[in-house]
Every structure is written in C-alpha cells, then in structure tokens.
C-alpha cells in the first residue's frame, strides 16, 4: 500500500426514484489534495459530495474516509466538514457562536474553543466581527464565516458545495485566491463542487469532470484543458469549435481528417485516437490564426468568410462562416491597432496540427 488516500469512492451510486443521480463512481483522493468535482447542474457532483459528508446515503457502493468504510455513519460522526451553497449560517448565533459550534458539540473545553475560534477568524481575516449576527454581514464575510466554521473542527476532509456561486464576480475572484491560500496553509484534503470551469481551472490540483452521474475525465487543470478526451469535456471546459469529419489516414505521429465541410486537417496523434472513422476535430478559438493571403498548403488551412467582429477589450472575437457552420476565432488586440478585418471579407484560417484534437463524434 502506497500513500494513504483520505477519501476513496468505490462503485458509488445514488438513485432517486427512477433517476440515477450518481452512476458507479470510482475515485481516490490523496491527502492534502485540492480536488474539484466539475460539471453542469444535475451531473451528480453535489450528490457525490453529500454522500462523502454523510448527508445522503448511497444506493450502492462504498465511501471510505482515511481507509475506514463510513457507509451508515451519520454526518456528526464523520471526520468531514461542509461549507454549504448558501452557507447555512445559524441566524440566531453570532459569528463567534457560529464558528465555535462544532467545537461546542464536540464538548471541547471553553478556553480551547475561544482560542481556536480566534485563530480561525484571524486566518479568514474576520477579526473584529466576532459579535455580529449573520444578517449584519456582507456576502463575502458570510462566506468567510462558513469557511472558518468548517475549518475550526480540523476535519480530515473539507467539503465545499459551490460556496462562491452567490457572490459577485469581483468578490468571487478574490475568494478563489483566498480559499486556495488557506487550503494550502492548512493542507486539508478538500473536495470543491462547482459548475464554474474557470474556478476549477484556477484553483484545482486535480479536476474530475462529471456528466450525467458519471466521471468523464480526471486530470490536472492543464491536462483537462489541453487534452480533453471527449467532446463533452472539450465543450464544457473553455470554448471549442467542433468540425465533423472522418479519418482519412494515419501517418506516423499524425492523423489526417477529411472534414465534411471540405478541407483537410492534420492533427498530432495523442496515442488514444478513437477507432471509429467518424470523428470531430476540436479547435480552441485562440489557436486559430487569420490571414488574408491564400496559403499554398493543402492541409490545416480553411477558407471562410468573416461574418462579425466583436471587440472584447484585450481580445477580439470573429464569427467566421465555414461551410454551413460558424467558427469562433479569438485574437489578441494589439494596442493602437484597429482591426483590419471587416464583415463579408474572405479569410484563411490556419491551425497548427498540435492544436487540433481528434475526438469521437
């Protein structure tokens, strides 16, 4: 046995009446890891989290925490602490009482409670607000109280259920950074549930992409972004243009795809190309470059027509008609340079083979 996993999910399944919310999930979470469960709403990520915390009982499968099977162990006896989506702060208790609640329930001595609550409030930068009620706090402050309340009990596993979704964008970005800092300081094994891919990419050690109750892909943020294994992941994380086609040839370490809308794309082999000949080529908008001149190359150059240009600040976005579909292209805007692209203009799209992903259709 190698390094012990703090959490182990084996064949975890949850059925609600006739829907399967979580479908046979297997996952190991290492000690101190910051793991993200990422997926659209209804993909079973929250249900998975609730099963780890003991707030939901699995229909089948096993949950192990620190090597111990905890199926049937009630939430109060599990070494987990949850930060809830709307924070679920006790409205009739002050900040101190909220944060101290877990220690009080565990019958810790008073001095210990006072000291630990103070330390935790310092850690989340809330000193000075000890006697406020939740109704007297801002969203960001409530968020910090919820985090402190969960951390103060020093859980083996910290569970966060979309804790930032109720905050506005600025605050959300700030809290991302802060939660990551605190998580690293305390080095507590953490499971963070979100539907926000930028959140996951920015904070995670490892991301588990979920869809319809199943795991689509597990990997580092970098890996998930650049090497999605399915159309779903590629579409959900970031933005991707999908061009359907079929595999025409496999030459050395490249694959050639004949596109349905005309044109050939050569893509780098990643070693796990799908067998079927019907595929889609996924291309990120920022990986495409535009040019006026027709290239002599017969591969990886597509001819289209600019339909719309949108100025986005640091970048500009193009809608390019290609066949009967639209390809989105994103380009960095140089300071002072006016866009030299105009709607209805003919344009050539160039893509490097390394930036093309061949995925099952």
């Amino acid at each position: 046995m190698a390094a012990m996993n703090d959490v182990e999910l084996i064949g975890l399944t949850k059925r609600f009446k006739d829907t399967v919310a979580v479908d046979d999930i297997n996952l190991e979470i290492k000690h101190g890891e910051f793991l993200f469960l990422l997926g659209p709403s209804g993909c079973g990520k929250t249900t998975t989290l609730r099963m780890i915390g003991g707030l939901e009982a699995p229909s089948a499968g096993t949950v192990k925490i620190k090597g111990q099977t905890v199926n049937g162990v009630p939430p109060e006896k599990r070494d987990t602490a949850t930060v809830f989506q709307r924070w679920a702060l006790f409205p009739h208790k002050t900040v101190t009482e909220n944060v101290g609640f877990g220690l009080k329930m565990k019958k810790k001595p008073r001095q210990d409670i006072v000291r630990k609550v103070r330390e935790c409030l310092e850690m989340v930068n809330l000193s000075g607000l000890e006697n406020r009620y939740p109704s007297q706090l801002s969203g960001g402050q409530k968020q910090r109280v919820a985090l402190a309340r969960a951390l103060v009990v020093e859980p083996a596993v910290l569970l966060l259920d979309e804790p930032l979704s109720a905050l506005d964008l600025k605050l959300r970005q700030q809290m991302r950074f802060e939660i990551k800092r605190i998580q690293k300081n305390v080095s507590v094994t953490t499971v963070f549930v979100t539907h926000d891919q930028t959140e996951a990419l920015a904070m995670a050690d490892r991301i588990v992409v979920m869809n319809e109750g199943r795991i689509e892909q597990i990997g580092s943020p970098h890996n998930i972004y650049f090497n999605p294994v399915s159309r779903f992941t590629s579409d959900f994380i970031g933005e991707t243009n999908f061009l359907p086609g079929c595999i025409a040839a496999q030459e050395g370490d490249t694959v050639v795809v004949e596109l349905n809308d005309g044109g050939r794309i050569r893509a780098q082999r990643t070693g796990d190309e799908p067998c079927p000949t019907d595929v889609v080529v996924g291309i990120r908008p920022e990986q495409i470059s535009l040019s006026h001149q027709a290239s002599t190359a017969t591969e990886n150059v597509l001819r289209g027509k600019v339909m719309d240009v949108t100025f986005m600040g640091s970048t500009q976005r193009f809608q390019v008609a290609f066949g009967d579909r639209m390809i989105v292209v994103e380009d960095v805007v140089g300071a002072g340079s006016e866009s030299c692209w105009h709607p209805t203009e003919d344009v050539y799209l160039e893509i490097q083979p390394g930036a093309c992903l061949v995925l099952p259709a």
Binding site: L55, F84, F101, Y133, V153
Partner: protein, 300 residues
C-alpha cells in the same frame, strides 16, 4: 426618449403624492372607524371607571379608585382573577405543548399530506363559534356522547359531570385557540432552512442537539407569539366560560358583563374591564422585552 423623463413611473408618482400629503384623506375612513368605534368608547369606559357609583345605573363624575381597589383586594374578586389566570395559563400551556409537535410535523410535511393537514386545522374555523360551543354540549353533556358511550360499555354507573366545569371551559377555549396557535407556529417553523439542521449535524451535533440548537431556538418566536395569542384570548374570552362554565367559578369577563348588564354598576364594571386590559398589555410588554434579542436578528 424625452417622454421617459417627463413621466416618472407610477411608483415614483405615488411616493411624490405621499410626500406632498395630498392624498392623506385616503386613510380617513379607517382612522374615523377606529376613532368612533374603538378609541372613543374605550376612552369613555376608562373615564367611567374612575366615577362614583350611586346605584341603579346612576354614577357621578369623580376621580375615584374605589372600583380598582375593590377588585384587586376583595377575596371574592381575587379568586375570580386567580381562576381566570389559571384557566388561561392552562389553555396556553396545553396548546403549546400539544401544538408544538403537530406544528413541527405539518411544517415538515410535503405535498398532499401538508394540504390535508392544513385543511384539518382550518376547516373548523369556518364553523360559527356558538355552533362549536353547542357541539361540546352534545359531546360532554349528562346525556351526551361520551357519557352514553361509557354507560353503555359499563365503565361507569353514573354519568360524569364534564360540562359546566373548569374542564369544559378549558376544552372550549382550546377549541377556539388551538388552530390559531398551530397556524402561527407552523408559519414560523416553515421559515427554518432545512440546510441549517444539516449544517449542525455536519458539525457534530446529534439529532437531538441539532433539533435543540437550531429548530427549537429558531422556533421560539412562533412559540412566544402563539402563546401570547392563546393567553390573551383565554383571559378575555366571554362566550366560552359563560356557556360552558359553572356559575360558581366565574371569569373576569363574566364579571364585567354582570356588573354592567345586571348589577348596573358601570364604574365597577369599567374598572374590572380595564384591569383585564392592563393584565393583557403587561404580559405582551414583558414577553416583548424578553424576546427582544430574538426579534433583533429576525427583523434585519
């Protein structure tokens, strides 16, 4: 679009109207109504309570505390006050203790179950009060439902006297106040976020601890308001004790009616009425003080 600037929305207009006090007369009917049918009678009753009684319905203007002193010192009337308080406290405690679990159950019920529960609580309120009181005659009377049943089974030889007793007064009052106490507590308990209980469990509270720390503490405002409602109504209720009670054990409200309608001693009747009013007001005031901390976070 210049028209937008020239014509502010209706909400803004309404606000301007109120600020300009142009339409204050809108409130006139309700203010007039309260004045003529509540404040003036109550005020004249307060005045009469200090008058000197001559007898046979005649009284002189004066500033006498005789009525109040008599009511608050005479052993006979002290018994009346004590009996009324006893009944009110009993009705309040029973409706709170028995009502709490029911209210909790209904507040957590869902769908059809909840609708049925609420209907069971509300439908009796659609029946006229006097009809409901006479219903208790049929059930509790000498030849009523319960006595006939118990006699027929042979559990008793003599009919039990259940009517015209403190017991029947308590039952009748419970019939009046119980649905309202339930509705008040249900409405407060429904507002308690279920995730708070999950949060408490998650942080190590047992089932009982999470109930006490979250559900119970957050339902206190409902208990207080429901309890006050039951207490104040039981203190002042006239129809139930006069129809279901015995003539030997009288309540304050019966005494008021007696003094004014039968003895024709208006000043004394008015003193009693005001004492009752003050008891209720002070109970409201004290409980408001005691729950101030609770109210603080609820309002914000």
């Amino acid at each position: 679009m210049p028209t937008l600037n020239n014509h502010p929305g209706w909400a803004v207009q309404l606000k301007q109207v109120f600020q300009a006090r142009k339409f204050v007369w809108i409130f006139l009917p309700s203010v007039l109504m309260a004045l003529v049918f509540f404040f003036i009678p109550v005020f004249s009753l307060l005045r009469i309570s200090f008058y000197e009684n001559v007898g046979m319905g005649v009284y002189h203007p004066a500033l006498s505390l005789n009525g109040y002193i008599k009511f608050l010192t005479d052993p006979f009337y002290l018994r009346v006050i004590f009996f009324t308080l006893k009944i009110a406290v009993l009705v309040t405690s029973i409706s709170l203790v028995a009502g709490y679990p029911v209210a909790y159950y209904v507040s957590r019920a869902e769908g059809l179950k909840k609708i049925i529960c609420l209907l069971l609580i509300i439908v009796p309120l659609w029946t006229n009060l006097i009809v409901r009181i006479y219903g208790w005659f049929v059930i509790l009377g000498q030849k009523g439902l319960i006595n006939t049943l118990l006699l027929n089974i042979g559990l008793i030889d003599q009919p039990l006297s259940m009517i015209f007793q403190p017991l029947s007064v308590v039952i009748g009052l419970l019939d009046m106040v119980f649905p309202w106490v339930l509705l008040i507590m249900i409405s407060v308990m429904e507002g308690i976020d279920w995730s708070l209980i999950e949060a408490a469990r998650d942080l190590g509270a047992s089932r009982f601890q999470s109930f006490y720390e979250v559900t119970f503490k957050l339902s206190i405002p409902g208990v207080v308001v429901g309890g006050l409602f039951a207490f104040v109504w039981s203190m002042g209720e006239y129809a139930v004790p006069s129809l279901l009670g015995s003539s030997a054990q009288r309540t304050i409200s019966i005494e008021v009616a007696d003094q004014i309608l039968t003895v024709l001693n208006w000043p004394f009747g008015a003193s009693i009425a005001f004492t009752l009013f003050m008891i209720s007001v002070s109970v409201l005031f004290i409980s408001n003080r005691l729950t101030q901390k609770n109210a603080d976070y609820m309002i914000r």
